[in-house]
C-alpha cells in the first residue's frame, strides 16, 4: 500500500481537498461520511476503509516527524497551507460550533501568542509555522504544496496539479465535475441538509449550532482582517506571523 498524505494545519482546507479528490475518483457520495471511507481521517479511525487500488489518501493534521505513522508506506504528500489569519478566524468559528460563548478576543490573542491555537499544539499539530516547516522542509518523499488561496482562485488548476502530482492522467470531464460538486455552496448545502435532519455528518457542529447560524462550512474567505474583533489585533498578528508567512508563500 502507498500512502499519500493530505496534510494541513487545522482549518486550512483539508476537507475541501478531500472532497475534490473524492469527487474526482469516486463521484458523488451518498453522504459526507462516505469521504472517511475512501479518504480516511487519521484522527477519526472508523474501521471502514475501502481502497480501490493500493494507493490510500489519508488526512492528517499531525506535524511530520519520525513519530508519524505509515512512514515506511508513505509515497508522497499533498500539503495544504492557508493564510494564518484566515486559519485563526476559521478556528474561532469552529470553537464556536462547540461553544458559542468562546471569547473572540481571548481566542485571537492566544492564537497569536502561541503561533497557532494552543489546543492544536497540545494535540501534536504544532504551531502554524512549525507545521508548515515540518512538511515543506526536507521531507524524505515528494511533496506538493497547495495554498488555500490559489486553490480558491483556480480550483481546476489546483486539482489538476494535485492529480498530476500523484501520477494520474487527467480526465478533464471528471475534473470539471469534481470541482463543480466541491463548490463551497454545494458543500454548505450538504452540511445544512445533513444537520437539519439530525444525521451524522463529516461537518462538525450538529443541529443546535445550525439553528444559531454557525456552520462548519463557514465562509471559505481569504484576506480577512481581525479588526472587527479588536482594531489592534491585525498589527499584533502581522508582527508575530510576518516571517513564517513570507517563508511559506502567504504574503501579509
Amino acid at each position: 500500500m502507498r500512502v499519500v498524505w493530505i496534510a494541513s494545519y487545522p482549518k486550512s482546507g483539508n476537507t475541501w481537498v478531500r472532497f475534490l479528490l473524492y469527487h474526482y475518483f469516486w463521484g458523488e457520495p451518498a453522504n459526507s461520511l462516505e469521504i472517511n471511507r475512501r479518504i480516511p481521517d487519521l484522527h477519526r479511525p472508523s474501521g471502514r476503509i475501502e481502497t480501490a487500488s493500493d494507493r490510500l489518501f489519508v488526512k492528517t493534521h499531525l506535524i511530520r516527524s519520525e513519530a508519524l505513522p505509515f512512514l515506511a508506506q508513505t509515497e508522497r504528500a499533498i500539503v495544504v497551507t492557508r493564510h494564518p489569519k484566515d486559519v485563526l478566524l476559521s478556528g474561532l468559528n469552529y470553537a464556536r460550533l462547540e461553544n458559542e460563548a468562546v471569547d473572540a478576543s481571548a481566542y485571537a490573542r492566544a492564537f497569536i501568542a502561541g503561533g497557532g491555537d494552543p489546543a492544536w499544539s497540545q494535540m501534536g499539530f504544532g504551531t502554524w509555522a512549525g507545521h508548515a516547516a515540518s512538511w515543506l522542509g526536507g521531507a524524505p518523499f515528494p511533496v506538493h504544496h497547495a495554498t488555500y488561496e490559489a486553490l480558491k482562485a483556480d480550483p481546476h488548476a489546483g486539482l489538476r496539479a494535485m492529480l498530476g502530482f500523484v501520477g494520474e492522467a487527467i480526465d478533464e470531464a471528471a475534473l470539471a465535475r469534481a470541482v463543480d460538486l466541491s463548490g463551497f455552496e454545494r458543500l454548505r448545502e450538504m452540511e445544512r441538509r445533513e444537520k437539519s435532519r439530525g444525521a451524522e455528518s463529516l461537518f462538525r457542529g450538529g443541529r443546535a449550532s445550525l439553528s444559531r447560524g454557525a456552520m462548519f462550512m463557514n465562509k471559505g474567505a481569504t484576506g480577512q482582517s481581525l479588526a472587527h474583533i479588536d482594531p489592534a489585533l491585525d498589527a499584533e498578528f502581522d508582527s508575530a506571523f510576518a516571517t513564517p508567512m513570507a517563508r511559506f508563500g502567504h504574503g501579509a
Binding site: 480516511p40 476503509i49 505513522p69
Partner: protein
C-alpha cells in the same frame, strides 16, 4: 543469526516476565535487539516490558521501532497505541489505532483501546461505536463491556448499561471492573430497586474482600492501634483533593483541632490552597494497594475516612484489607459501599431517614442537621435579575452530569415545559462537548413533543467563573432523579436560583432534600413527578418571588447549617471521637 534463536529468546523472556522476573527478561531482549537483524517482535515485546516496568519513553522508542520494522501488524499498532495513550500522547495513539484497524477492521483489542481513548477525550458517540464493535468481536472481553457500559451511563442510559453489564457478568463472570460499573449504574437507573442496589453492592464488597484476602496473604505490616496517644489520628483517603466537589466539601473538615491529628492520603492531585491547615499530606498517586495499606497502617490512624466509595480512583480493595481500626465512607458515593471492612457511613437524617439502615452494610452515622458543608465558590459573580424579568422566556436549567439525565428525568422536564407555555430548557454539562451526544438528547426531547427551539444544550465553560456566570441564564433549576445533584444544587442556590427536587427512596435521590432542608427551603421538595412539575411551573409564574430570591438566597445560605463550617467540623469530629471510643471499648 538463526531463525529459531531469536524466537526462543523472546519466548523465554516473556516467560520470565510472566513469572515476575521483569529485569532479566528486559535484559535478554535488550541484548537481542542490539543484534543486527533482530526481529520486530523483539523490539515490540521489549517495549511492552519496559512499559510494564515504568520506562515509558524507552518503551515508546522500542514500540515505534517495531511498528516501522513490521508495518501492518494490528497487535503491534494497538499495543503501541495503548502505551501512547497512557503516556498522554493521544493524537499519536489515535493514529496507531487507525493503523491497527486499517489492517484488520475486526481486531477487537484496537477497538477496545480506541473506545477507551475516545471516552477520555469526551468523544462519547465515537467511543460507543468502537465499544460496540469490540463487544461484537469479543463478547468475553471485560474491557469492551466496561467501555460500552461507561458510554451508556455517561449519556443517561443507565438502564441499558445495567442490562449490558448483567449480560456481560453472566457470560464472563463477576469481577471488580464490571461489578463496580453495575453497582454504580444502578444508582442512576430509575427502575433499580433499593434491594437490588444493596445486593449489587454486597456482591461488589465480597469481590474486594476476596482481593484483600490475597493481599493480606502475601504479607502486610500489622495493623497497630494508636491507643497510647493523646491525639486521635484521622485519615482521609481520596483521589479528589484537587479541583473536585469532594475536595471542596471535605475542606472544612480538614482543619485539625488540639485533640486531633489529620492525615490526607492523596491518590490524585491536590489543590494548592487545600494544603496546610496543619494537615499531614501523603502523596499516594500511582501507589499499589500493598504500599498504600502499609503507608496508612504505619501512621496508626484511628479513623480512616475514604471519600470515593466506588467512584473513579477508589481504593476499595486496600480499604477491604483494613488500614485503620475504624473505617468510614463519606461524600464521594451515593450509596452503601457493600464493603464489609467499612464500619460507618456519614449521612444525615434527611438523606437517610430512620429505616435507611435496611439498604446499607455500614452503620449510618447522622451528622445532623446536614452532612454537607458548602464553601463560597471563588469568583462567583453577584446574582443579577432573573432572565425572565428582562423580557426573556422563563428558563429552566440543569447543570447536572448528563449521566443523571435518565429518561424519567426527560419525561418530567417535558412536563415542566408543557405546564409553562413559552418557557425554555437550558442544559449544560461536560458530555455536551460531544455534538452527537447533544443531538441525541435533543432528539430524545423532540420525541417527547418538545419544540427544539425551546431547548439550549451548552457544553462546559473553560473555567469555574464562567460556569457560575452561566447560571445568570437560568430562572429555576431542576434537580435530577433518582440520582440528585449536590454541588449543582448548592451552586444554583448560591446564584439565587430556586431548585426543585424530587425526594427519592434512597440516599442518591435525597441529597437535594438534605441541602434544601438545611436552608429552610422544604417547599421545593416534591414527593412525586406530578408535584415536581407543579412546583416548577408555580415558581415560574411568580416573577416577584424569583426576583426576591435572587437577592436573598445567598444570605440565607450563609446563615444556614449548610455553610456553618465551625459547627460542621465539630459535629464531624465528635462523630470520629465517638466511633474511636466505641472501637476502643469494643463496640464499633
Amino acid at each position: 543469526m538463526g531463525v529459531a534463536e531469536p524466537r526462543l529468546i523472546i519466548q523465554q523472556a516473556l516467560a520470565q516476565a510472566q513469572s515476575g522476573r521483569l529485569g532479566p527478561a528486559i535484559a535478554a531482549l535488550e541484548r537481542l535487539t542490539q543484534k543486527k537483524g533482530a526481529p520486530a517482535e523483539a523490539h515490540h515485546f521489549l517495549g511492552m516490558l519496559l512499559f510494564r516496568g515504568g520506562q515509558t519513553e524507552r518503551a515508546i522508542f522500542c514500540l515505534d521501532r517495531a511498528s516501522k520494522l513490521a508495518p501492518g501488524r494490528p497487535q503491534f499498532e494497538s499495543n503501541y497505541a495503548n502505551v501512547l495513550h497512557a503516556a498522554g500522547r493521544t493524537e499519536q495513539a489515535l493514529a496507531h489505532y487507525f493503523l491497527a484497524i486499517h489492517h484488520d477492521a475486526s481486531y477487537a483489542p484496537a477497538h477496545v483501546g480506541l473506545s477507551g481513548t475516545l471516552l477520555g477525550l469526551g468523544r462519547l458517540h465515537e467511543a460507543e461505536q468502537h465499544a460496540r464493535l469490540a463487544w461484537e468481536q469479543a463478547p468475553d472481553n471485560a474491557e469492551a463491556a466496561s467501555n460500552l457500559a461507561s458510554c451508556l451511563i455517561l449519556t443517561g442510559r443507565a438502564a441499558e448499561a445495567v442490562g449490558r453489564l448483567n449480560d456481560a457478568i453472566a457470560r464472563i463472570g463477576p469481577g471488580v471492573q464490571l461489578n463496580t460499573l453495575l453497582a454504580a449504574a444502578m444508582n442512576y437507573d430509575a427502575s433499580s430497586t433499593p434491594e437490588g442496589i444493596l445486593e449489587a453492592h454486597r456482591t461488589l464488597g465480597r469481590l474486594h474482600a476476596l482481593a484483600a484476602s490475597s493481599l493480606e496473604a502475601s504479607g502486610l505490616p500489622p495493623l497497630k492501634t494508636n491507643a497510647d496517644s493523646d491525639r486521635l489520628r484521622i485519615g482521609y483517603l481520596s483521589a479528589d483533593f484537587g479541583d473536585h466537589p469532594v475536595g471542596m466539601f471535605i475542606e472544612p473538615a480538614l482543619e485539625s483541632d488540639e485533640g486531633m491529628a489529620v492525615f490526607c492520603y492523596a491518590t490524585g492531585p491536590v489543590a494548592p490552597d487545600r494544603r496546610g491547615c496543619g494537615v499531614t499530606w501523603r502523596e499516594c498517586g500511582g501507589i499499589g494497594d500493598r504500599d498504600l495499606v502499609s503507608i496508612v497502617r504505619a501512621d496508626r490512624i484511628d479513623v480512616l475516612v475514604e471519600l470515593s466509595g466506588h467512584s473513579l480512583g477508589h481504593r476499595q480493595t486496600a480499604v477491604a484489607a483494613r488500614m485503620a481500626p475504624v473505617q468510614a465512607s463519606f461524600l464521594g458515593y451515593p450509596a452503601t459501599t457493600g464493603n464489609p471492612a467499612i464500619d460507618a457511613r456519614f449521612v444525615d437524617g434527611f438523606s437517610d431517614p430512620p429505616g435507611a439502615e435496611t439498604w446499607c452494610t455500614e452503620r449510618l452515622v447522622r451528622i445532623d442537621p446536614c452532612a454537607w458543608c458548602f464553601s463560597e465558590p471563588a469568583g462567583a459573580p453577584e446574582p443579577g435579575l432573573p432572565p425572565c424579568v428582562s423580557g426573556r422566556p422563563v428558563t429552566f436549567g440543569s447543570f447536572n452530569n448528563l449521566a443523571k439525565t435518565v429518561p424519567a428525568v426527560l419525561d418530567a422536564w417535558t412536563g415542566v415545559l408543557a405546564a409553562t407555555p413559552g418557557s425554555r430548557l437550558l442544559l449544560k454539562n461536560g458530555a455536551f462537548i460531544d455534538e452527537r451526544t447533544r443531538a441525541r438528547i435533543l432528539e430524545a426531547l423532540v420525541a417527547r413533543g418538545v419544540d427544539p427551539s425551546r431547548v439550549q444544550l451548552v457544553p462546559p465553560t473553560r473555567d469555574a467563573v464562567g460556569h457560575m456566570t452561566a447560571y445568570a441564564h437560568v430562572d429555576i433549576a431542576l434537580d435530577t432523579f433518582p440520582y440528585a445533584g449536590t454541588t449543582t444544587t448548592c451552586e444554583a442556590l448560591w446564584m439565587g436560583i430556586p431548585v426543585v427536587t424530587l425526594a427519592g427512596a434512597c440516599h442518591a435521590g435525597r441529597v437535594g432534600v438534605s441541602v434544601l432542608s438545611a436552608v429552610g427551603l422544604e417547599a421545593w421538595i416534591a414527593r412525586d413527578p406530578d408535584e415536581y412539575v407543579r412546583l416548577a411551573s408555580t415558581l415560574a409564574a411568580d416573577r416577584e418571588r424569583l426576583v426576591s430570591l435572587r437577592g436573598s438566597l445567598r444570605d440565607r445560605m450563609r446563615r444556614s447549617p449548610l455553610m456553618d463550617r465551625e459547627a460542621y467540623r465539630s459535629r464531624l469530629h465528635a462523630a470520629y471521637i465517638e466511633l474511636a471510643q466505641q472501637r476502643r471499648g469494643g463496640s464499633a
